[in-house]
Symmetry: C2
Subunit: 375 residues, 2 copies
């Protein structure tokens, strides 16, 4: 446990300045739940922000005192002597606005009505998140992050940081991400959303008041998501055509091991995650497109960026394939940015960014070793 | 219209000999609906059987008299002078057992109960279909087909014909198929099935008696299916990130064109297709695996085959990618079968097998020109 940040606990920050969203909606007041690891130096120049992906949250590293099994979702990456070294950096993880792990979101009580926000919670974009994260940085007195780091949807936030606040980060680590979703990416999200939206227990997003949860829809959304997080090869290696009971049952119960895995993952998720948050997260993914206001030209879109970049992709990631990361690299190089790019050979598909993988961790460690903790 | 088979009408054949399924279930009596095009020669040696895929049926070519728009699903392939030439061949298309277009299936009335079969309809396998198709051939007095032809799940039937009745076909045309499903293929099917099975209107498969249809589930299943039938490239070309109204709405209505397309396809299908049939078809896909009883060894599994083969795949088909077709070719060559293989460059993904495509049709035409109509 020498390389663990140890027992951690979440903090909560309240923001009373209204936040205007891209959609035009305004949230008068909101809370962000966060955790920190390591020590902020006197100049406040050693801070690293970790942005989470679709189902992530603020508990990134360490363990909670009441549950020794509750390792943070990126505990293999962050800690003393780990690639993101907490002996050197002050690391912040937060739960994004709209989330369901403590930050203000659809399941939070709207002080104006005394009921959960539900369907009235504003549609949130990556730009909105970055704006809210900048206010969290202000609260700490952090003028500039040493690095902003994220995988998948988290990588998009790191990228957006370099565009929204070019002078407020020295490095952006953009992992297993894409500069924008393709039609196929959006299509998968739309099926997942429709599973939730058409669940009779969804009640137009206000299911809280009905004492039910659209668990059928959320379960299907998660099952589908899992297929896109894994690779065909990884599934073949792990499950193949193995039968759970060794023989065919000729019924609709679980027959193949892969069915058992998917249904288990779906059931577990449906019990713990908020359906409205899931919808918001997938929409944020769909909306993300820095090039929209620049004639779909990524070169123009990335012109404001000043940070140095590490872009990482994984060979078997078919959700955000390496070519999507290369598109980011190309547009950054066009703008003469300082970019390192690593294409990691891994069998684990999109999920690779969360895994303990020697080559990947070596790349992260080497890059973070170059990131200055002071100016 | 000179190359059309013209106005056609469906026929119905009744079979009173009980059919035993792979699962052990027995159907005492069943009907198969079919259409024929061209003329059966005196020796009955010029018959070609067309096997349909997941949502296909017996109406393969020509038009029905009551609807000039009702072209058969493979009308571009079959007709006078077309690749499968009805001036030369007698072509049979049927609706598979368990279907919902006239052949006995879950929505048919069970004579023993006077109610629809619903959940009590036997689970059907590709082998069961081939067995029932052989009885249809018997009815015509066809001892040997000139060719058995199919795409996707239909291609699996053509392959199974060569294994179940090696002497009853001279050629098997196996298009956009796979020797067995991967874990990923099964995973997609399982999500689609779970969408239907967990729809409150499914009522354990006996929804007919409740006067409802599990349309939410069927709609989701079809939306998901469509993603796997198209290619990432085809979707990017056709829809890209285009917005339906030209601007973002920040709500859960249709925003992107791809969403409009998917929901339209889902709605249309949910109104016309039977949910139990959909479940059966996906299970038949999952179960298909000629190698299961041969230690997963395709070489051993294909040993009984005697037919000549044309195997066709499409470059952008990621559902059943070219490497899956090459596995079929390899195992057939191992058994010294006569195999032609064409890998067609097409942007349309799995759906390519249904499309008018010059190179593909040239390959089909050239191969069928070599197929003897007489012995």
């Amino acid at each position: 446990m020498n390389d663990s940040v140890g027992i951690v606990s979440a903090q909560c920050a309240t923001f009373d300045t209204p936040l205007q969203f891209r959609s035009g909606a305004i949230l008068p007041r909101y809370e962000l739940v966060y955790e920190t690891y390591g020590t902020l130096n006197a100049d406040k120049t050693n801070a690293v922000l970790i942005c989470h992906a679709l189902s992530g949250h603020h508990h990134v590293a360490g363990r909670h005192s009441d549950d020794p099994k509750s390792a943070g979702w990126w505990d293999n990456m962050i800690g003393p002597g780990k690639p993101i070294d907490t002996d050197k950096f002050f690391v912040i993880g937060l739960n994004n606005l709209g989330g369901c792990h403590g930050s203000t979101g659809p399941s939070s009580t709207n002080p104006e009505t005394g009921k959960p926000y539900g369907a009235s919670f504003p549609m949130v974009t990556v730009e909105d998140w970055v704006k809210s994260q900048a206010r969290l940085a202000d609260m700490f007195g952090i003028r500039q992050f040493a690095a902003v780091v994220g995988g998948s949807l988290g990588g998009m936030q790191a990228l957006q940081w370099s565009l929204s606040y070019p002078e407020r980060l020295r490095h952006a680590l953009v992992i297993a991400a894409a500069p924008r979703l393709t039609a196929e990416n959006i299509a998968f999200n739309d099926v997942a959303r429709n599973a939730i939206l058409t669940d009779p227990d969804f009640h137009g997003g206000n299911f809280y008041e009905h004492g039910v949860v659209p668990s059928r829809g959320l379960r299907l959304a998660r099952m589908l998501g899992h297929i896109t997080y894994l690779s065909d090869d990884a599934m073949a290696d792990k499950f193949g055509r193995s039968l759970r009971s060794g023989k065919l049952g000729y019924n609709y119960d679980i027959e193949f091991e892969i069915e058992s895995y998917l249904r288990y993952q779906g059931d577990k998720f449906a019990k713990s995650f908020d359906a409205n948050t899931y919808l918001l997260m997938t929409k944020a993914l769909d909306y993300f497109d820095p090039s929209r206001e620049y004639d779909d030209d990524l070169n123009k879109a990335f012109a404001p960026a000043q940070a140095n970049f590490l872009v990482v992709s994984f060979t078997t990631d078919w959700r955000f394939a390496p070519e999507r990361s290369r598109a980011i690299v190309k547009a950054l190089l066009h703008n003469r940015r300082n970019v390192s790019y690593a294409e990691i050979s891994s069998t684990h598909g999109h999920d690779s960014f969360l895994m303990q993988h020697e080559h990947y961790h070596d790349v992260m460690r080497a890059y973070m070793a170059r990131v200055e903790a002071s100016l």
